[in-house]
Amino acid sequence: MIPWLNPALEQLFVDAAIETLTMVGGAAAVAILLGLPLALLLYATGPGGLAQNGLANRPLGLLVNAVRSTPFIILMVAIVPFTRLVAGTSIGTTAAIVPLALAATAFIARLFETAFREVDRGVIEAARAMGATRLQILVKVVVPEAMPGLIAAVTVTLVSLVGYSAMAGAVGGGGLGDLGIRFGYQRFMPEVMASVVVVLIVFVQGLQSLGDWIVRRIRRR
């Protein structure tokens, strides 16, 4: 696979890549699943929203901001008890998904909310004039109309998660970032470091291009 690595290192490399994919994929899946309703709630209860409600909006917004403003490395350590509760352990790849998912949920919720806000108010007004309920407006108008923005938000989140997942090595999460630190840096094996960097660049580029391509496809129609 990677000709300049010996078979043992190559195996480590493949394992690490799978761990990165697991962390990024797992965290992103949770973030989308939780972030979408959270963003809809933030959007609907927000100022000028379909179900404007400051009492619900402000605490939610504060919570999201709190998570977003905590540096990831601190967040990871701070929520160890919660991680243990959810994952049964606080170390390893699965455990690392918990703080990653939490950070990504807050991150993507704000991006989704922004995408919803960009939906033309006129279109929403038209739906109201046609007798749509608020739920119908959210499901049939706001979400589909925001789709290009939502896809772009998922892309940005995935790319950020690749970066964050490298830090998850600190709690034994493994992954390419961890491999790079342990072998490339601590054991001074530049070829490992170079491979990690190249693979991460290709991975991120691939994600970005895929995301952009989907957005373009949706927008073109």
Partner: protein, 369 residues
């Protein structure tokens, strides 16, 4: 044209006659912007629109037109007043009942407001989907609505692939798909070029005749009113300042704002150079510039030569033409009248007696005297 319009007795305030399709009474809506200033967007507006009628509302930007039309389906709730649509007061309804009534009131928007994520057919299907119409029936109704606006072949396209005029046709098809009795148009043609505007106005008129719709239409262009409306209300600062049959409002505008609006479409101004070249009045004589509008039974009488003889005036015809509103012809003439001041006044009174519309034209050259 529907039967309802043939009875010109259905004017607001008059009794009996079938219930108006839309009856707005004493609507008030105030907005407090940035604390101190209070905007009276609607300041006691009453209107009634007869079934089958195309009713226009004109006014400058900020007059309160959009606020008014949005009150008809309660997109905007008035602070006070009454909103009766098809004989029913809407203000007392709960949310579910209101949504149900909104489905019977189609609305068309200046910027079309189509869903970019849906095809033309799916856009038209939207109001039916929302109303819970089964898929099979939805399909036939969408096809029917698209056929009405002549866009059947664009069913599978997305809105971005259409021209402005086509988008508005989709907007109209979408508004009509649930078979409403009422169509609200908020500046439906303001984003379109003049030719496309004609096309869309023609379509609205045809559809009104075909489907027996009642149309309430908002515009800032008198030309639109002249083109398709039966009656018109002129709004200014949240109030209706003039209202009546389009022909009457055009030929005998009472309010200065209305006159200014009309001047834009059937203008009576005379170029200053032309005024400068007119002969000056002789000693003891006055000169008056007038626009005379010929409409009604006396419009075919030879009033100019008659006035000249009766009052000893020299009447110099500067320009003249014939126009038409809703099939009724009228003539407009710009005159320079020379003669004894009291004779000119007497002639003007006689013109007015004959039912001709007289509008003075400012005469810069003579005003100094």
């Amino acid at each position: 044209m529907s039967a309802a319009i043939a009875t010109p007795g259905t004017l607001p305030g008059e009794t009996a006659i079938p219930e108006a399709a839309i009856r707005l009474t004493e609507l008030r809506r105030h907005f407090s912007t940035s604390g101190s200033t209070l905007v009276k967007a609607l300041d006691g507006v009453s209107l009634s629109v007869a079934p089958g009628e195309i009713f226009g509302i004109v006014g400058r930007s900020g007059a309160g037109k959009s606020t008014l039309i949005r009150c008809v389906n309660l997109l905007e709730r008035p602070d006070s007043g009454s909103v009766r649509v098809l004989g029913e007061e809407l203000l007392g309804l709960d949310d579910a009942a209101l949504r149900e009534r909104r489905r019977g009131i189609g609305m068309v928007f200046q910027h079309f407001n189509l869903l970019a994520s849906r095809t033309v057919a799916d856009n038209v299907a939207f109001p039916l989907e929302v109303a819970g119409v089964p898929a099979a029936e939805r399909k036939t109704r969408v096809a029917e609505a698209l056929a009405l606006v002549g866009l059947a072949e664009k069913a599978k396209n997305y809105p971005t692939q259409l021209s402005g005029g086509q988008k508005q046709r989709v907007g109209i098809a979408r508004a009509l798909a649930p078979r409403p009795k009422i169509l609200l148009c908020d500046e439906a043609t303001s984003a379109l070029d003049p030719e496309t505007t004609q096309e869309i106005l023609g379509l609205i008129k045809t559809l009104r005749d075909q489907l027996d719709l009642t149309v309430l239409l908002i515009t800032h262009e008198m030309a639109v009113v002249k083109e398709i409306c039966d009656r018109v209300a002129v709004m200014e600062r949240g109030q209706v300042i003039e209202e009546g049959r389009v022909f009457d409002v055009f030929t005998r505008p009472a309010h200065p704002t209305t006159r200014r609006f009309i001047a834009d479409t059937i203008g009576h101004s005379i170029p200053p150079g032309t005024v400068a070249r007119l002969p000056a009045p002789g000693a003891g004589e006055a000169r008056r510039l007038l626009q005379v509008l010929f409409a009604g039974p006396n419009s075919t009488r030879s009033v100019i030569s008659e006035a000249s003889r009766r009052y000893g005036l020299d009447l110099n015809i500067i320009s003249g033409r014939i126009d038409e509103i809703a099939g009724e012809p009228f003539g407009i003439m710009a005159l320079a009248a020379y003669g004894a001041p009291e004779q000119i006044e007497a002639a003007l009174a006689w013109f007015a007696e004959l039912g001709l519309g007289i509008t003075p034209i400012p005469d810069s050259a003579v005003e100094g005297h």
